[in-house]
Every structure is written in structure tokens, then in C-alpha cells.
Symmetry: C2
Subunit: 308 residues, 2 copies
DNA sequence: CGAAATCAAAGGTTTCTCCTGTGGAAGCCG
DNA sequence: CGGCTTCCACAGGAGAAACCTTTGATTTCG
């Protein structure tokens, strides 16, 4: 079978006109080059050089072979460069998983960071919900992600980076005067996000459990997918909603007008963590993981410092 | 160092999603594929597949590598086809040497034969003079040729194919009545071809020797390169010339008007032979050699049958 | 929980690669 | 023309690579 090494020896021989010269250039002994070219001739079932006197004369077949041999070697070299380019994070795609609401916490800033540090890379930030993302992680389709705890998988490395507090949001200030207890939640007319993931979503389950302990059940009047949609509906006074302080913090001025919020009593927290499989993390993911950690921890500090 | 085999294994693995499947397709055991991919990863200093559970997940680097790996394999396959195409005489260039005057004997017919049998090939018919062509043969720049004897080189295979007779050509019938002896040649006003090769040309040397034996020397009044030019000059009555009967035979109607010819006395002959180095002849040259032999021998028979 | 499938690792055999050393042929030059 | 150099071919042997079989560990699926 024909090999790259044979092609290299052949091209060097063709270029320099003799086995001896080719051997000198390639750093081998002359019989090695001679043998490789002979093997190539055998593999191609063709004479590539006429051995005439003490010299070599390339045949027509050699002239036909040369450009293709060069092309093959060039393709391999290019392959090496392409891989190196990915390895050095000059090109390629980085995929990172996140629960959908994470975009309030870091998407735009994270993208800015990555694009700035690595101008050539593509970035894919995928994921709807923490449970779905965790499944992708387990199947290997994602290397790393930021999701809400808990993560019960001993093969995963879990690094908590931000603790956020659930808050009750309403357009009606009167509903925020009293302590928002689980019983109050059960009685309220609510709009909740993550309609498609209500069975597995950790926040939903936390809320549901708290309400259930009062003997009631959590029956939101309205279900939507987006947190933003839920807030819009709340701003219209159609229902109240529950979200994370961090979302309000991140929205700032862009929070729909007329909304106010109050903490739950007892307080309920959600912890977000960067999660990845045990073992080596690719350089690309490492970069994104580090950036996410820095951003999220910065947010964590900012929110802890902020008055409630 | 990265090898084609590794690329093959890698692509099969990528395509079929597992080492086991790739091994099945390629006809190897699973650990062999596994090892080759590991070597490739080592050679590229990159992880190509994440080993997750019992499956493999290609990395970004693998996706970057794949097209270049395919390109390298394609180039090698193309190289094989290109060489085969030359070997099968579908494409490529066939070089064949001949003394210049051979074009009177066979060039157009030979080209027709080759192009008809091998529509894709290029044909190079090179050579000025038998001595020059022989030198090319010795240096390996030509594989085979048809030239005038003698060829004193034991490394060459010499196959005589045509014996031709030297004839005296003149526009003046009176000069053809007497026997054209060497002495007559010495006295004649001659135009001779092969000006550049007068030192080595075999016909010249034959003529010169014959004349010299009479105590004179051969001093042509005019020297030109082309036989056709010499004949044109002879037709204008400016000088007489000497050429081969085969040339007149081949020219037929196209012989310049007014020329007549007579044999030399004693007769002088020139023998043409197909000559090539000992050992294997490439299929391409073999084809041309065979065609030339057939054509030349046909001419030989035709001329021997023709009355002088 | 058992069965099937998959990758990884170990051990051993065969093949390939490459070297050194040698011989022979061809060209070069005094 | 004879010696010198240069080049290719060949042989033998050491080391590396390729490949196989067997085994083990893990995961998935019924």
C-alpha cells in the first residue's frame, strides 16, 4: 500500500535527481530512499525512474505522479494546520451549555469576552433548561455548561458559582406588603416560565415542594416559556410571577415598568454551578468555563453586596 | 508522524461512530483502529474523540480534520489513477527519437497510427540527427529511437528495419548518363543537407570516405540543414545533391519538378534501425517501437520490390 | 439485574523500516 | 587508458510498528 513516506521520498528524489541527494535532504541513508521508491513503484505497478548508468531519469509516470503526490502532502500539512488552529483557539467552534435564563446573567458579556480573546472562533451557546443541558453533558454532546443545582452525577465536576434568591414579582404593590409565604403563593394568580420543563425544572420543583408542605399545590394560572414573557404579563397586571433577583438585577432599566418585587419568606435560593465531566477539558471549553466562572462570581459578589 | 493509514482509520471511525464499526468496515480488529486513532491524536497533539461511556463523540478538532484527511486520501487515489492512466496509455506523453529526415519515411503515418490507437496521448518526436539522438539514448533522455547505423554501443538493442540506397539527384539529365562514381561526386557541384552535423552524420562520412579513397575530398559547394531545401536548390539547377531513394519514394508527386536521379556506382547503402537500451521498454515506447518497425519494414519491402 | 456492546490494555507475532557494509557500474580527469 | 569518485543495488540485522487475540471494565438496554 502506498504511503506518504513513499511520496515524500519520491518527490525528494525527483527534485534532487538522485537517491543520494534525496537521502541527504531527508536525513536518511541512500538505500532507505531507494527502497521506499522501489516500494512505491511496486505499489503503483509502474516504473518511476529509469536507472540509467549512475543516474536516474524520471519516467512519464513520475511526471504524472508528482503533482498529485505534492497535493497529498499539502493536504496532510493543511490538516495539521487546521487542527492546530482549532487547538490554539484561532478557529473552530466552542459549544457551551446553559439554562435558558442564563442569558440574563451573562450571555452578552460572555460573548464579548470570548470574541475579544479569540477573534476567530465561533461560539455556540446552547440549551433550554438545566435538566436538558445536564442530559447533553451526560451523553457527551456538551463538554461543559452552567446549570442550576442539584446535579446528582458522580462523573461530573460541579463548581458552584452563584447563589441567587427567588423573588415574588407583581405590578400590584399591595400584594407585596404582606410576607410572601408558600401559602400566599398557593393562593396567588401566577404566571410561571419554563412551561415545557415544568416536570424537571429545579426552580419549579422547589416552589412546588414548599407549597405542597402547606397542604396546597402549585397551580400557576398561566404558563409560558420565557421569563421575559412572564414578566411582561406580570407588568400588565394579569398575574404575578416568581423569578430570580439576578434577573431583575440584570434587566435594570429594561425591567417592564410598574413591577415591584419582594423576597419569599422563608427565603428560597437557587445555586448555579459550572458543570463538566471528569477528566481533561478541551482548551476551548476551559476558556469559556473560566470566563463564565469569573462573570458569575462577579455577579454573585455584586448581588450579595446589594441591599435586599 | 502522521500517516495515511491513520487518516483512513480516523475517517472510518468518524463516519461510523465507533472503533468497532470502523474496524468492521476496514477489515481490522477493533484495537488496531483504536491504536491508529490514538497515534493520530498523539501526532496531532489533539483529542479527536471524547471517550464517553461506551461511545465516541468527535471533537471540534475532528470536524476540522475530516475534510483535509479526505482531501489527502483523495489526492493519493487521484495519484494512482493518474499513474494508471499513463500506464494504460490513456494519457501522458510518449517521446521517441528520430533523425530529422525520418519524417519523409514515416512521421505523418506514425502519428496517425498512434493517435488512432491511443487517442489521449501526447506524442513527441524529437531529434535532429542520428548522432545527436544516439547521445540522448545513451543519457537516458530518450527510451527508443530510429536512427541510421552504425550504433557502436553494446548496451543498446539494435533492430535494423530498412535499408535504403543513396542516389544522385540532378535537374540536368546529362549528368545522369554517366555512372556516378566517387570521382564524379568529387567533381560535382553539390548541395548537401545536415550542415550542423557534417562531422558526425553517417551519410556524410560514408560519402566522404568513398571520395577520399579516390584521392579527392568531398567539398560540397552549398550546405543546408534540410533535405527538402537541398532538393529545392537542386531543382533550380544550382547544384546537384545526394539523398536516399526512400525520400524520393516518399515525396512522390511532391518531388520538385524537373529532378531526376541515378544510383551511385558502386552503390552505397544506409541502414536504419530501431534502437533502445537493453532491458524493459515502457509500454508507451513499446507501442511506438512496434508501429515504427511495421511501417519501416513495409517501406523496405515496397522499395526492394520497386525497380531501381 | 442480566445480556450485549463498546473501548482499553496486555502480550506476542509478523511485518516494515532503517541502518551499515559491500559490490558493481559509470562518469571524470590527469 | 587507468585510477578516483560517485552513484545505485543488494544483503544482513536491529529496532519499531502494525496487528491480532484475549481479557477486563464500563455502559446501555431489555
Amino acid at each position: 500500500m502506498i504511503s506518504l513516506h513513499q511520496l515524500r521520498c519520491f518527490l525528494a528524489t525527483l527534485e534532487h535527481g538522485s537517491f543520494t541527494a534525496a537521502a541527504g535532504v531527508l536525513g536518511y541513508a541512500q538505500p532507505s530512499i531507494s527502497e521506499q521508491v522501489r516500494l512505491l513503484e511496486q505499489g503503483l505497478d509502474t516504473t518511476l525512474f529509469r536507472r540509467v548508468g549512475r543516474g536516474l531519469v524520471p519516467t512519464e509516470a513520475a511526471r504524472a505522479l508528482a503533482p498529485h503526490a505534492a497535493a497529498a502532502l499539502a493536504a496532510v500539512a493543511e490538516a495539521g494546520r487546521a487542527v492546530a488552529s482549532v487547538r490554539e483557539l484561532l478557529t473552530g467552534t466552542v459549544r457551551f451549555g446553559m439554562f435558558r435564563t442564563a442569558r440574563f446573567y451573562l450571555t452578552a458579556d460572555l460573548v464579548a469576552d470570548v470574541l475579544h480573546q479569540h477573534p476567530g472562533v465561533r461560539l455556540e451557546l446552547v440549551g433550554q433548561n438545566s435538566a436538558e443541558v445536564l442530559e447533553h453533558l451526560r451523553k457527551g454532546r456538551l463538554e461543559a455548561a452552567v446549570i442550576a443545582l442539584p446535579v446528582e452525577d458522580e462523573n461530573m465536576v460541579v463548581t458552584p458559582v452563584l447563589r441567587d434568591e427567588l423573588v415574588y414579582v407583581s405590578a400590584d404593590p399591595s400584594r407585596l406588603h404582606a410576607r410572601v409565604t408558600p401559602a400566599a403563593l398557593a393562593a396567588a394568580q401566577l404566571v410561571l416560565p419554563d412551561a415545557s420543563w415544568r416536570e424537571t425544572d429545579t426552580t419549579r420543583r422547589q416552589l412546588a415542594q414548599a407549597v405542597q408542605r402547606t397542604g396546597h399545590s402549585l397551580r400557576p394560572r398561566i404558563e409560558v416559556e420565557d421569563t421575559e414573557t412572564a414578566l411582561d404579563i406580570a407588568a400588565r397586571g394579569l398575574a404575578d410571577t416568581v423569578t430570580w433577583r439576578g434577573v431583575l438585577h440584570a434587566l435594570g432599566d429594561r425591567l417592564p415598568a410598574g413591577l415591584a418585587w419582594a423576597p419569599l419568606r422563608p427565603a428560597m435560593y437557587e445555586t448555579f454551578a459550572v458543570v463538566h465531566r471528569q477528566g481533561e477539558l478541551s482548551p476551548a471549553s476551559r476558556v469559556v468555563v473560566d470566563l463564565v466562572m469569573a462573570r458569575m462570581r462577579g455577579l454573585d459578589r455584586a448581588m450579595r453586596a446589594e441591599p435586599a
